[in-house]
């Protein structure tokens, strides 16, 4: 945004400069003004001789020339930048100045819904994230990098598979079964964010080239979001892409290359340890030894790698008085740290703006992206899931068996049913396949063509009154291809399996707005916006698949006719319409008293016609105390109080949840129909009432921002569970308006230029969020395997049995009953003595009294939602070097380490090395029971969470360390003869360190992304650390 302003102002100021030329002629001073943050040259900076009206402005290359009297002081200033004064000595003829951004950013223009506003006038809670902070980072999508950048925005990267989308929550979780994701609006057009791949996870936001993005605005409170009405309950992220500016054209290249690696690995048994443990499980349970010493294989060596990453972007921008342009080309190729998982993206953007005459402005934003993701089967429970399989595969067998020619030299059983057993006497549990064969032979590919485009026309009808129309489209054209080798792995059971799908999403969005701005006597300032918005989204899809492939040749790229004997097809269709009328009034009195009122009436096709329309009002007020006459503090330069209230809704309630009907079903080869949804006509809008008070304060070099907020969601559209014995379709739940919930919290942000000594400076920017979630009303608790949501608690708390340790007398696992007494599962060799027994604290060996562990003994084991989180950016600069250290932290939540529990399994597959601590003799104090073949369910209570594996999820992560060097312009000029305007080299490491007490691989790993099931680390791929070197060059 700053760039645009710079351009506009440079135009004005150069006229001013021309007028001043030749006034006094004493001495000529020339120089260049550059940005502190990125070294780019700054056009349009105001250069004035202090105490005079003598002044000029920098040109398009940041160069100025001014004639000044002796012993003058030059003042360099520009909106959004810190003003700098430079004394001109007697002999000085050249001054290069570096301007840093003004941290208070009062005049910064912020994009809000359907318009812009100056920061000082904002009465809602809006946080801007500069794209500059993110653009050199290597990431599959921009959203993964937003975490910690703004108070109130939590972003969790749940695993290290490329394509997986991060979990983004603004001010907590604001829905139970509807979507909790924010609304993303790119250049004014709300974009489709549903994953349209049917085989792998693909993040639709990965179709946006991060380096095309100019700024991110996060709208958090009711007032800021109210203009988006029904779509804004989960917050809004507004994205503005780069546009050209008037002046000399510029060409910029930015690129990085590097590699990614997994941050950590599982500590598994080696082959020899496995033999000991596996046979001890057997002997303890009365079986015979199955494991026989062989190799020492770490399957992780095969599935993990250092993945190569690179990204290159070229942009061209510039413009004339009447037209501006921005074109970009982008390419990225990122390999994850798990083999066979990578992403390639080619992107193109053209943003054009054209003035026609004096009153009409036309423009377009157009981007096309081609993204290919080679995904991974990482199903937590899939036999061919990379992590599941590699951590369970027998460590005492080899990966390859050159003699096994039929299976390309991979080690498999002779029939191909399972991983080869080596010297062992049995196959690995569940006949899991050789993961190396699977990864090397099966394909999971998604190719997506995405077009995001809009055109607008902006007409100034009369002074202050303008009309704007904008039509946007969002096309997602994804092509899935999956093939499974017929010999081994998932394809074996069907003699090969090939699947292809096309699931396009089409959206058009049309907005018409009228805007009127009026200032009366310079004290009464009005800004009124009114508009209509229409939107239609169509999701459709079809797929074809085949099984029974004799020849593997045909599994490479696409379905090939006649290559398979069994053919299948499928398809789906749904549509959603949206229609809205809205208005907003912003008024301020002398920049002192600020009021904003907005209202919106939205209708969606997903509700029955009688309840289709919803009204969503919002209002906010602000008081800039620092503008008052009585406010005379010289220390405090800005002080604003804000308050807001709004009612919002959530449109992501599923397609036509009110409309019951019969769907097609197949009973074998016979056509049937069945009631798959019951009708519930009274279903209506849920309301989300958001209240916010906040203040902004600038105190010398420190700016301070604080907010307190509450969100109350009532009449929630909840997929309310119904007792299964009622057999209600489709899956024992009916969408109903039941339940309410409350989120409240505090957000703080402090930023400061801590130190500025000569050529060294240190800036810091710290944010902190405290948030509390409480479910205040429900008909019945909502439960799943690990989690339960109940009134009076936060969403999705862990729920399970309470571990009481290992009985040191006999190695039995013990659990607490509800009454606080302890029971043990007697792992007796004699089956008649097996089962639950009471534990006698005075006689540990006594297993004579039968007892039980029942669902009445289940208990809450910890909340899964973090209660505190934030980020901390420190930027240091010395001469031409700059260093940014970005730290992110979060905590207050608990994690169920299901990965660990399952790796302590009692079957014939590999274990976590912790199992070496198992109980082996009376009197031994340990937290691993006696090993016992086949007793997973009783030992670990696998059907529920277990406090033995529940741990705190607190962490502090050094997210990024970025070291930059700006090639001095003198050097550049010398080398390139003025052709290269700027050059910066960067060395960075993303995700270098994490400090946490959690003993899994990473405290953010999460199997589930929905709200009700959360905080479960279950065979997720370790997250990625990336090292890279980058180069930015401007021509």
């Amino acid at each position: 945004m700053r760039k645009i302003l710079l351009t506009i102002f440079s135009c004005v100021l150069s006229l001013y400069a021309v007028a001043q030329e030749g006034a006094v002629q004493e001495k000529k001073v020339t120089g260049k003004v550059t940005s502190f943050e990125d070294g780019s040259t700054l056009p349009g900076v105001n250069v004035v001789v202090k105490g005079t009206t003598i002044g000029t402005a920098t040109d398009g290359n940041g160069v100025f020339s001014i004639t000044v009297p002796e012993n003058a002081t030059l003042v360099f200033s520009f909106i959004g930048l810190q003003t700098k004064e430079v004394e001109i000595g007697a002999r000085t003829t050249s001054v290069d100045v570096v301007l840093a951004s003004d941290i208070s950013q009062l005049n910064e223009v912020v994009v809000v819904g359907y318009g812009t506003q100056e920061r000082k006038e904002i009465t809602g809670s809006v946080t801007s994230v500069s794209a500059k902070d993110l653009e050199n980072l290597i990431a599959p999508s921009f959203d993964t990098q937003l975490g910690g950048r703004a108070a109130g925005v939590q972003v969790t990267t749940p695993g290290g598979v490329i394509g997986q989308r991060p979990i983004v929550r603004i001010r907590g979780v604001n829905s139970l079964t509807s979507s909790a994701d924010p609304l993303y609006v790119i250049d004014g057009v709300p974009v489709v964010t549903s994953d349209r791949s049917s085989i792998i996870s693909t993040n639709p936001l990965a179709n946006i080239n991060p380096s095309d993005i100019q700024s991110y605005e996060v709208l958090k409170d009711g007032s800021a979001t109210a203009i988006y009405g029904s779509r804004a309950a989960n917050g809004v992220i507004l994205i503005t892409t780069k546009r050209g500016s008037k002046g000399k054209s510029s060409i910029n290249y930015s690129g990085s290359v590097g590699f990614s690696e997994n941050v950590d690995r599982f500590d598994l048994l080696n082959g020899d340890q496995f033999v000991t443990i596996a046979n001890e499980k057997r002997s303890n349970s009365g079986g015979t030894a199955l494991a026989v010493a062989g190799e020492n294989t770490d399957w992780q060596d095969y599935i993990f790698r250092k993945g190569f990453v690179q990204q290159h972007n070229v942009s061209f921008s510039g413009g004339t008085e009447t037209s501006t342009y921005f074109f970009s080309l982008g390419y990225t190729d990122q390999q994850s740290s798990v083999v066979k998982n990578d992403m390639e993206r080619y992107s193109f953007r053209a943003n054009l703006d054209q003035k026609v005459g004096t009153r009409l402005k036309l423009g377009t934003s157009l981007s096309y992206t081609y993204t290919q993701i080679n995904g991974l089967n990482n199903g937590a429970n899939s036999l061919s899931g990379a992590i599941y399989n590699a951590t369970r595969s027998l460590p005492n067998v080899a990966i390859f068996d050159p003699a096994n020619v039929e299976y390309d030299g991979y080690n498999t059983t002779a029939d191909g049913a399972a991983l080869g057993r080596g010297n062992n006497l049995a196959n690995v549990d569940n006949n899991i396949p050789n993961i190396a064969f699977v990864l090397d032979h099966n394909k999971n590919r998604n190719r997506n063509n995405r077009v995001l485009g809009s055109v607008y026309a902006d007409l100034e009808i009369a002074e202050g009154l303008s009309a704007r129309t904008q039509i946007g489209v969002d096309l997602t054209l994804p092509d899935d291809f999956r093939s499974w080798d017929p010999r081994h792995g998932d394809g074996r059971g069907t003699t090969g399996n090939v699947f292809q799908a096309y699931n396009p999403a089409y959206r058009w969005n049309w907005q018409n707005t009228l805007n009127y701005q009026k200032s009366i006597n310079d004290v009464h300032n009005f800004n009124i916006t009114a508009g209509v918005e229409y939107q239609k989204t169509t999701f459709s899809g079809f797929n074809g698949s085949g099984t029974g492939l004799a020849d593997r040749f045909f599994l490479q790229q696409n379905l090939i006719s006649n290559s398979y004997i069994n053919q299948f097809s499928g398809g789906s269709f749904s549509e959603r319409g949206f229609e809205s009328y809205f208005g907003r009034l912003n008024y301020n009195y002398n920049d002192k008293y600020l009021v904003s009122i907005s209202a919106r009436n939205d209708a969606i096709s997903d509700l029955y016609k009688d309840n289709r329309s919803g009204f969503f009002p919002g209002a906010s007020v602000g008081w800039r105390i620092s503008q008052e006459e009585f406010f005379t503090s010289t220390l405090i330069s800005d002080f604003k109080l804000r308050a807001s209230y709004a009612e919002l809704g959530n449109v992501e309630i599923g397609t036509l949840p009110y409309a019951g009907g019969y769907s097609a079903v197949l009973y074998g080869p016979s056509n049937g129909i069945a009631l798959t949804q019951v009708t519930n006509l009274p279903l209506e809008w849920e309301t989300s009432k958001k209240f916010n008070v906040g203040l902004n304060l600038t105190l010398g070099r420190v700016t301070f921002e604080a907010d307190y907020f509450t969100t109350k969601i009532d009449n929630m559209v909840l997929n309310a569970p119904v007792a299964p014995s009622l057999g209600v379709p489709p899956s024992n739940a009916i969408a109903q308006n039941v339940g309410s919930m409350k989120n409240s919290g505090i957000e703080l942000r402090v930023s400061s230029r801590v130190l500025e000594r000569g050529e060294f400076s240190w800036n810091t920017d710290f944010n902190f969020t405290l948030i509390k979630n409480e479910v205040t009303n429900l008909i019945n608790p909502l439960s799943s395997t690990y989690n339960r949501t109940e009134v009076g608690r936060s969403i999705g708390e862990l729920y399970g049995y309470r571990w009481a340790g290992v009985n040191e007398a006999n190695g039995n696992p013990m659990y607490y009953k509800a009454d606080g007494s302890i029971v043990q599962y007697n792992l007796s060799l004699a089956s008649a003595n097996r089962g639950w027994k009471t534990y006698d604290p005075n006689d540990h060996a006594n297993v004579s009294t039968a007892s039980s562990l029942t669902s009445g003994d289940l208990a809450f084991l910890g909340r899964t939602l973090p209660t505190w989180s934030g980020g901390w950016t420190n930027t240091f600069s010395y001469k031409h070097f700059d260093l940014e250290i970005f730290t992110r932290y979060s905590g207050g939540n608990y994690i169920m380490n299901e990965t660990k529990r399952l790796l302590l399994g009692q079957g014939f597959s590999n274990n976590h090395a912790d199992i070496l601590n198992r109980w082996t003799e009376a009197g031994q104090n340990t937290d691993i029971p006696k090993v016992f073949s086949g007793q997973d369910a009783n030992m670990w209570q696998t059907g529920n969470a277990n406090s033995r594996f529940v741990q705190k999820g607190d962490f502090v992560r050094i997210q990024n360390i970025v070291l930059g060097y700006r090639v001095p312009s003198t050097v550049l000029d010398k080398i390139s003869k003025g052709n290269v305007k700027s050059a910066r080299v960067i060395a960075q490491v993303q995700n270098p360190f994490t400090f946490t007490g959690y003993d899994g691989l990473d405290p953010e790993l999460n199997q589930y992304s929905d709200q009700l099931q959360y905080g479960v680390d279950w065979n997720a791929a370790p997250i990625i650390r990336t090292y890279s070197l980058g180069l930015n060059v401007g021509f």
């Binding site: 003699t495 197949l666 014995s725």
Partner: protein
């Protein structure tokens, strides 16, 4: 000029807004036929009555497993596997069925949750379709007679589902007829208004549930066409085991009455259909020809509609040599038992082996997974009758009947059973029970027999099994091979019946108060 242009733009915008405004939010689904919205009735043609009835079979064939249609609960295949894994004659080779095999279930175990939910999904779908049939008859869409024909099939499925629920979730009629049954649901739940009423129904007693299901079966028998089933073809009434006809309904009654120890009743029902079916000449017959003269009622699967690789019978039970997963083997417990003689065709033609053990060869559509799931075979009806005769002391008829099933399988060198060779009534009954174990191996019937016989005290509970994952070599099938026994479950143990799932007790206060003991 400019003003005019603006007017045009604004005018067009308003017009377009008005045009799209009224239609934009009027969206109807393309993937479901509306029912109950603005008076729409989905079942408004004779064709849709038929397809709605077929929809009830679909619920039986493929129910929900953890939220997705998969695995063939409650009758498609998963139920067969659960029935076998609760018994001792099939053996769990992998972690897959370990919880069931080792009696380690809890109210959240996915299998029993899916079974419960799947059965009541059939039941409610049946009730919804019964109401739709009533409406179709009342509005003249179909005739009363045809309506009754359809009703008979739906009532049959409703009764079958309740019976299966009783076998898994309640104590047996033979042991505790006055203990908790299962809610017998007869009215549709198809809207929020129906929920409260549905939640009022308690479990009643086992006896009352049996009475209700027998009434359904009697009505079904009365309503059924003389031959065939309306949903297979409402004109020709084609006879096929995939749709319930009158004889299938009667056959189910022999099973139900056997559980009720109504021996005379079993024989009465048997007599009605004893000539309607014929055993195939060899035991392999019904598995080579799924619609043979011996098939009474089966679930039909197809390549596209089947229980999937995670449950299909061929995949779970088949020999890995044939690309099956082979997670369940024939147990050495029955293989090595004296009553299953070597050379029995059920050993030689209905099993295969590899180095790791013996696998069932009843289901052979490996990689396609469309084997029919046999639910009632005539062999069972015969053995039901044989037991009823034996119980009543008519050992001669009993022996004749059991020999019908056995003689087609045993080698020429093995003599047929005689009253004399079997000794007394107990000997005859034991022979019949053993014959059931052999004949229905890998058909999921074992649990039902354990359930009723343990209730009578004829078994102490679930007999010991080959220890889970202890059978790793074919040598263990030979006499003298290593056999570790484990996992017995006494009838008196609370685990003997499955718990009401936690999802149910959380959302249903009535059943929360009626949970099975010990859970």
């Amino acid at each position: 000029m400019k003003i005019k242009f603006i007017n045009k733009v604004v005018g067009m915008a308003a017009l377009f807004g008005a045009m799209t405004g009224c239609s934009l939010t009027d969206v109807e689904p393309a993937d479901r036929i509306l029912d109950g919205v603005d008076g729409a009735t989905a079942i408004n043609t004779a064709g849709r009555v038929k397809t709605a009835v077929i929809g009830v079979y679909e619920a039986a064939q493929r129910g929900y497993y953890q939220g997705a249609v998969d695995r063939g609960y409650p009758f498609g295949a998963a139920a067969t596997e659960q029935g076998d894994m609760r018994g001792e004659d099939m053996y769990n080779d992998q972690a897959f069925f370990e919880i069931t095999y080792t009696n380690a279930w809890t109210p959240t175990t996915a299998n029993n949750v899916a079974m419960w939910a799947g059965l009541y999904r059939v039941i409610n779908r049946a009730n919804i379709v019964l109401a739709a049939i009533d409406n179709a008859v009342a509005t003249g869409i179909i005739t009363e007679t045809l309506g009754n024909n359809y009703r008979s099939e739906v009532l049959f499925l409703r009764a079958l589902s309740h019976h299966e629920a009783l076998i898994h979730f309640s104590r047996p009629f033979s042991g505790a007829p006055d203990s908790y049954g299962v809610p017998y649901r007869t009215s549709p739940i198809d809207g929020t208004d129906d929920i409260a009423g549905g939640l009022e129904a308690g479990r009643g007693t086992v006896a009352s549930a049996y009475a209700a299901l027998l009434k359904d079966l009697d009505d079904a028998e009365r309503f059924a066409p003389t031959t065939g089933a309306a949903s297979s073809d409402p004109v020709a009434f084609t006879v096929t085991p995939y749709f319930a006809n009158k004889n299938a309904i009667i056959a189910l009654k022999t099973r139900v009455k056997l559980h009720m120890r109504d021996w005379a009743g079993v024989i009465t029902e048997y007599d009605k259909i004893k000539t309607a079916y014929q055993l195939m000449p060899t035991p392999e017959g019904p598995f080579v020809n799924w619609t043979s003269t011996e098939a009474v009622f089966s679930m039909q699967n197809s390549a596209i509609s089947n229980p999937g690789t995670n449950a299909s019978l061929a995949n779970m039970y088949g020999n890995p040599d044939f690309k099956a997963r082979g997670l369940v083997k024939v147990s050495p417990v029955i293989w090595r038992s004296a009553f299953w003689v070597d050379g029995d065709l059920r050993k030689t033609t209905l099993t295969t082996s590899n180095a790791n053990g013996v696998f069932s060869h009843k289901y052979r559509r490996y990689t396609i997974n469309d084997d029919a799931t046999p639910l009632i075979r005539f062999a069972e009806v015969i053995l039901n009758a044989a037991e009823a005769y034996a119980r009543q002391g008519d050992l001669t008829t009993a022996v004749t009947l059991v020999n019908q099933v056995r003689d087609r399988a045993i080698p020429a060198s093995t003599p047929s059973y005689t009253e004399a060779s079997l000794g007394d009534q107990n000997g005859v009954l034991t022979a019949i029970w053993n014959e059931r174990r052999i004949e229905f191996l890998a058909e999921g019937r074992r649990w039902a027999d354990i359930h009723r016989l343990a209730g009578e005290g004829l078994l102490t509970g679930v007999p010991s099994k080959a220890q889970s994952r202890s059978v790793t070599a074919i040598a263990q099938y030979s006499a003298g091979g290593r056999l570790v026994l484990d996992h017995p479950l006494l009838y008196t143990n609370d685990l003997f019946v499955w718990p009401i799932p936690l999802d149910e007790t959380l959302n249903n206060p009535t059943l929360a108060a009626q949970q099975n003991k010990g859970y």
